[in-house]
Structures are given as C-alpha cells and as structure tokens.
Symmetry: C2
C-alpha cells in the first residue's frame, strides 16, 4: 500500500470514528495537493469547528514541516476553526494535539509519543473538548 | 466529459471564485458517494459557515431529490452551517438560493431560472451575506 493510500485510510478511519460518536466530519478533497491552505479533515459538533491534520507513524516521533503547520493554521484562522493534529503511533490509540503544543525543531516541528502523552489528549477526551 | 467530471469542474470553479474573493472554501472528498450527509463544498469567511450543494444545468430548470436536500440540511444542522444551493444555468452567472426557498414538487424540489432571479442572490451579493 502506498504512503498516500495509508494516509487516506487513516483519515477515513478517523472520519468514521467521529461520526460514530456524534460528530460530523469529512475529508477535504485534494488536501495534500491543494493550492489553498487546507486541513485533511474538517469536523464539528455544532458549536465547535475543528481543522485536523492527520498523521500516523511506525516510529515514536513524527516530524512536520513549517509549511504543514502554517497551512493548517492559516486555514483555521480564515475558516474560524481550531487547528489540531491527530496523530497515531504504531499500535497506539489516536492522540490529538493542538498545533501550538508541538516541539519546535530547526526545520519545523516534532511530536514524540512522550509529548503526545504529556500535551495531547486521547480520542474520548477530544470528543468532550469545550 | 462525463456528468461527474462536469460537476467536479463546476465545484472547482466555485472554490476558486470564493478564495479569489477572500472566502475560504474546499470541496468535500467523495461528497456524492459518502455514507454520511455531505455538502459538495464547505465555505466560510470567519464568522459565517456555509454548506453548498453545487448544480449546473443547460436547461432553465433544475430538479432536486428529497434526498439531495435533506442530506445537505442534516449536515448543516449538525455542523453548524447554513445550507445553500449554488446553481448555474447555461451561460448565466451563479445564483445562490437557500434550500428553504426551493419550490416543492411531487418528488422533491425544483429551482427555475425565474425562481433563482426572484428568491436567489448573485455571487457578489453572496460574498456580503450577513
């Protein structure tokens, strides 16, 4: 399976999980190649609008380019949404981390499993965010 | 060009027009085949969130199934958005009509060019909706 297909599958899984739990969520068409700032998923529960960048990794650390993060933040600002990263480490549950909580690196940003556990929230907590 | 491709092209054209005018807009992935209620486009200008069903026709009348309209209304209610139809008649500009303004038919709903001119608004007016 290609990296792109794995990414799409992870996004679809998250969309289903959100609908199953009373949220409304959809994948954005061509989010990885759009000429405009775009999240992977737009989700809402009526009051709260969330723009989500979805990543999964087999390692215990995931890097993000400056571009990745600025794109979702610009979109969120314009749309009127909160910018979150949904991150799944190998065989672990989903973690949700606000873009502002990522560690800064020389070339961009980084989230380790340790950071996700410390600064992130798990799926059930995400459903209840106010 | 297939009907599906023409539909996608119309959606893309509208997305570009919205970005060019300071709105933020994206096509929803698989909107026509999703198992969940879905609009074709989600758009916003910070305050206002709009779910858009996009249709174009070479005739002077466009029919909508009950299903088409209920899907976008259910999505909009859950998401916290307004439900609009963006409709382009052959060689005419875009008209925007709220789903509640469509004419009821036996099998669903209908928008004629006459109705669009009477109850709809044109693109420039849509940009300024409050």
């Amino acid at each position: 399976m290609s990296v792109k297909q794995k990414g799409i599958n992870a996004e679809r899984e998250l969309v289903h999980k959100l609908w199953s739990n009373g949220w409304c969520a959809h994948r954005i068409a061509g989010s990885g190649s759009s000429r405009y700032p775009s999240p992977d998923i737009i989700a809402a529960n009526g009051n709260k609008k969330i723009a989500i960048e979805v990543k999964s990794t087999k390692k215990d650390k995931r890097y993000f380019s400056e571009e990745d993060i600025s794109q979702i933040e610009i979109f969120s600002e314009m749309f009127g949404a909160e910018a979150w990263i949904a991150l799944r480490f190998s065989r672990k549950d989903w973690f949700f981390i606000k873009t502002g909580e990522l560690d800064k690196t020389k070339k961009g940003f980084c989230a380790s499993l340790e950071l996700a556990r410390k600064k992130g929230i798990v799926f059930d907590e995400f459903l209840r965010i106010e």
